[in-house]
Symmetry: C2
Subunit: 254 residues, 2 copies
């Protein structure tokens, strides 16, 4: 059953691999899917290379049922995600009429002309559905193959954020669970000292993910303890998580 919730993220773009850009998209996507009850098995970042994108998309679809990609949907020569996905899924590429309308509508509003480069943004694997882009021009790509779902989003963070709503709408009813999180900062505590307690609590609550984040403030050590719980709804999950964090705090007399 949990198989269905297995998901992964593929971030596409040389600018990420050369470290020019700090990728915030994967955290945003990961957070959204996690809270919706999905489990991110792996995140990968690859260059703008058709073969590398296709091979990695295939790998990730092998270990997960939902794949979200970002990047490589624009008008430039190195935007090759649509082609790579058609290669990975063995689906021929073609001009999507609905996507073409979306691009036309956008560029008309901007007072611009259609060019070969802009038209390219409407070419996607056949059987794909274009995802409306409320912020930029390039439509996203939604492909369903059996139980597997692939959502390709552009790389611009504002566009990813806006288009994630579409992904959530498609996925929220499929998920039977929701996640809820609780965190608390324990002052004057060192991570190594509470490690045995955390391990004990992790064993007591095997379905709750407990994690400590150590830090130092004004020369005093602290540990931020977070718990992530699963339940039928977000509120119950939050309550479960909060209970565990409070139990840890109580045990420390903090």
């Amino acid at each position: 059953m949990t198989e269905l919730w297995r998901s992964s993220i593929l971030i596409i773009g040389n600018e990420v691999l050369i470290g020019r850009v700090v990728d915030t998209n994967s955290a945003k996507v990961a957070r959204t899917l996690t809270m919706l009850g999905y489990e991110i098995i792996e995140i990968r970042k690859v260059r703008d290379n058709i073969t590398e994108i296709a091979e990695n998309a295939k790998d990730l679809l092998h270990i997960s049922n939902v794949l979200i990609t970002t990047g490589g949907l624009g008008p430039t020569y190195d935007d090759v995600t649509a082609e790579a996905l058609s290669l990975a899924l063995v689906l021929p590429l073609g001009l999507n009429e609905r996507a073409k309308e979306m691009v036309e509508e956008k560029i008309k509003k901007m007072g611009l002309d259609m060019t070969k480069e802009r038209l390219k943004m409407a070419i996607m694997p056949l059987t794909a559905k274009p995802i409306p882009n409320p912020v930029g021009v390039a439509p996203g790509i939604y492909i369903k193959v059996g139980q597997k779902r692939v959502f390709a989003l552009p790389g611009v963070p504002a566009e990813v954020e806006a288009m994630l709503d579409y992904v959530v709408e498609e996925l929220e009813d499929l998920s039977l669970f929701r996640k809820g999180e609780a965190c608390e900062v324990l002052e004057g505590v060192r991570e190594a000292d509470i490690a045995p307690l955390i391990e004990e609590m992790a064993k007591t609550y095997p379905d709750i993910y407990i994690k400590t984040h150590p830090g130092m403030k004004d020369g005093t050590p602290y540990v931020k303890v977070c718990a992530l719980a699963t339940a039928d709804d977000e509120e119950t999950a939050k309550r479960k998580a909060s209970k565990v964090v409070k139990a840890i705090k109580g045990r420390l007399g903090a």
Copy 2:
């Protein structure tokens, strides 16, 4: 020859996969290696799971010669990187005496006692060298197997930053090249409109990576054009990159 410069990054930690934390380590490591002349083939992020870390480390060492990992070296139950690397590289684990001294020295200075959890940070694959940690307690792990080099660093960004100096020292003499970058913002320009020119320039300078980043400021579109060039030294590489960006600017009459 270029084979030697192939490198990859493995980010370890559930907190990244659930999107609680925006990973800045991979960009920092990627930037440092890139400018040193190394090429990042892939970045992966995996959960705190021994098998998943080991399998992905093996995959990445298959496609690259330098692997940098971050995370999973601390004192808690879910810090399993040392164990995973020993599994991936088929090297038995053992207490490293030099690492033990490093941990002891740190905790003595902090007025703390040695515990099982703290001692765990000195256990690493045999034949590994511990990397001094000037900021935190956990030493890093440096393993050389044939031409392959693995550097395992902790996950705390300040520790990664400080310990990258060690990585650079080990790698800088191996690299025969350096990278140099130049960027320029072209105002009033749209990405799709300059796409044909960028493609032409990329073909004219096949060894220079040219990338456009579109944006909008006060209602006016702009494109940031960046070029990344390779040369014997950084200055020459920067000059080459700058020449290409200036040529693009000139062609646009901007």
